[in-house]
Symmetry: C2
Subunit: 339 residues, 2 copies
DNA sequence: CTGAAAGCGCTTACAG
DNA sequence: CTGAAAGCGCTTACAG
């Protein structure tokens, strides 16, 4: 039994309707829109006029289905409120938008389970490629990625197993900052960590390596809280650290938010920074330059990570393997006044 | 002449292939996935097993085309780096994600032209609804919105012309903060504005209304810079203001970023805040509570705007008109130490 | 330069 | 509970 056409909103003008109104075939209208050079000028103008006047808008779903492409890239990020990933996103957007790709943002909320779930559900869009944060996907997630063989680039870290990635060494950056603290004479250097995501843990490894190499004691100087980072948490954790280790002479905070809160709390407690206590952060977010004293931190190339990762993905989608699977964008120590 | 099938990636298993492998029709596979209750249990399990084993992922493009829906919402925001809109986005995501909608984010970069261009191009997705920032769309943009008659909710402001919106009165909020400065004895209150977008201009109107109502002079106290807001610009603009008006006793910054920069610069110049100079911001972003002195500002319900706007849009899409077209979420004066 | 036919991968009604 | 047919709105080859 033939199917009855469903009612459509009046505004959903179709190609066929434009064709009928112009007295040509649908395919000619399609060409006038997509490959105008192939249509006689007079006809093309009549068609474009009808398109404009009827308010025709092509249906991308239908077009892409017919063309067997999606022009879509999936971006898996752990947070929508962490400036770090917003900056990366801005870089991605700046490359992929002009290239005609639609970005699908999936917020994993720092959960590997949610990452897997979101990957599976967004595969339904048949993305042309995937941008994923970090390297620590669950085995299931990696299996899906492998199975579908989609071009994939990892963000914000470096892999040595051939996976494509654009970032910098979180461990080396953590190490560099800790080395600076050691070199400036600090001896009891605490590490303040929240969220405890992959990147934070690697920075902590860098801190540990630096202290160990310098022959410094690390026992009782590592402070972890699994809660999300915030300035309030940084303030609270500074209290905890000073309660437990009043002899502590430096705090390496795993990010700037914690550090800004710690700095404010030190001020409230009348603690001289950096005289009696050094405080350092990580990322060099905008406020870091405007605290009192100005925050010593590590500048990370967030937007460039987005730009370069998007470019690499575009190459991969085009079938052109990049020169190297892994691009190291480095980091920069920002030695200001707090440490 | 019949068309030759194009080669497909091996991973792109189709419904028909799953059907063939299971020995049933495609529609039964479709039902096993979408309305499992309508399929006999034993059969359903065989099908789901094949789906799993073959790694079948439905093609959303095809599904939505056939179902004549898009399950997509377009969100037009002026910036991807301004925390204000990121917070709004987080609220939108929290409602629309669980409701099965895909969010399409279009970044207008504070440009009405780009807004129009992005609206037109994203209409190709046939979104079920639109969330748009502010009320000041270009006439062309409004014409497209009207013509397509899509459910639309405006974010972060209040309209009195029947348009759907969720926000608060930018003017009243600006007025309330300026009233506070007046009430606390300030007499030469400057307004520092950057970006000069719709919301900033309305806050300025509130500032003007408050000063005028109090009989205070406003001549030469309005300082505008069209550049994007930043802490560095806030510092630079404070210099400009104090050069032009050394007698100024308060600065109302149109947002917290400017205010934080201004506060830092005042500290560098040895200016007593709030003793000699009051400095206030707008939005109550996280760092505002951690500056020295802590920043007086206006807390805005950004995430709630996203939540409520998304809920209203869902109602509109479902054909249920909301109780009122316009939801006022209010604002809150945060009187801290800087003003 | 233009078009008739087939197909992209799915779902909607209807029938049985 | 299951299926044959038609259709969603477009584009891809081919022919002329």
């Amino acid at each position: 039994m033939p199917r009855k056409p469903r009612p459509r909103p009046a505004t959903h003008v179709t190609l066929a309707e434009v064709a009928q109104a112009t007295g040509v075939s649908a395919i000619t209208v399609s060409r006038a829109l997509n490959t105008p050079a192939l249509v006689a000028e007079a006809l093309r103008e009549r068609i474009l006029q009808a398109v404009e006047q009827m308010g025709y808008v092509p249906n991308r779903q239908a077009r892409l289905l017919a063309a067997a492409r999606s022009q879509t890239v999936l971006v898996l990020i752990p947070s929508l409120t962490n400036t770090v990933f917003i900056d990366v996103l801005a870089g991605i957007d700046a490359v992929l938008g002009p290239a005609g790709y639609q970005i699908l943002i999936a917020n994993t909320h720092y959960s590997a389970d949610e990452e897997l779930r979101l990957l599976r559900s967004h595969l339904e869009f048949k993305p042309d490629g995937i941008l994923v944060s970090g390297l620590a996907q669950s085995p299931d997630c990696r299996a899906w990625l492998d199975r579908h063989g989609l071009p994939t680039v990892h963000l914000m870290d470096l892999a040595d197993d051939g996976r494509h990635c654009v970032g910098f060494s979180q461990l080396a950056a953590g190490r560099a900052l800790a080395d600076h603290l050691v070199a400036s004479g600090r001896r009891r250097i605490a590490f303040m960590a929240a969220q405890l995501d992959e990147r934070t843990l690697k920075r902590a490894d860098g801190w540990l390596a630096a202290l160990t190499a310098a022959g410094l004691d690390v026992a009782g100087l590592r402070f972890d809280d699994p809660a999300p980072s915030s300035m309030a948490l940084g303030a609270a954790m500074l209290d905890r650290i000073l309660d437990a280790r009043p002899d502590c002479d430096a705090v390496f905070c795993c990010n700037d938010d914690l550090a800004i809160g710690a700095l404010a709390r030190a001020r409230q407690r009348g603690i001289d920074v950096p005289g009696r206590l050094a405080i350092a952060g990580f990322n060099d977010l905008q406020p870091a330059a405007w605290t009192a004293p100005a925050l010593t931190t590590v500048a990370t190339p967030r937007e460039r990570v987005g730009l370069e990762a998007a470019r690499m993905l575009l190459d991969l989608i085009a079938g052109q393997p990049p020169a190297a699977p892994c691009v190291d964008l480095g980091f920069e120590l920002k030695l200001r006044d707090s440490a």
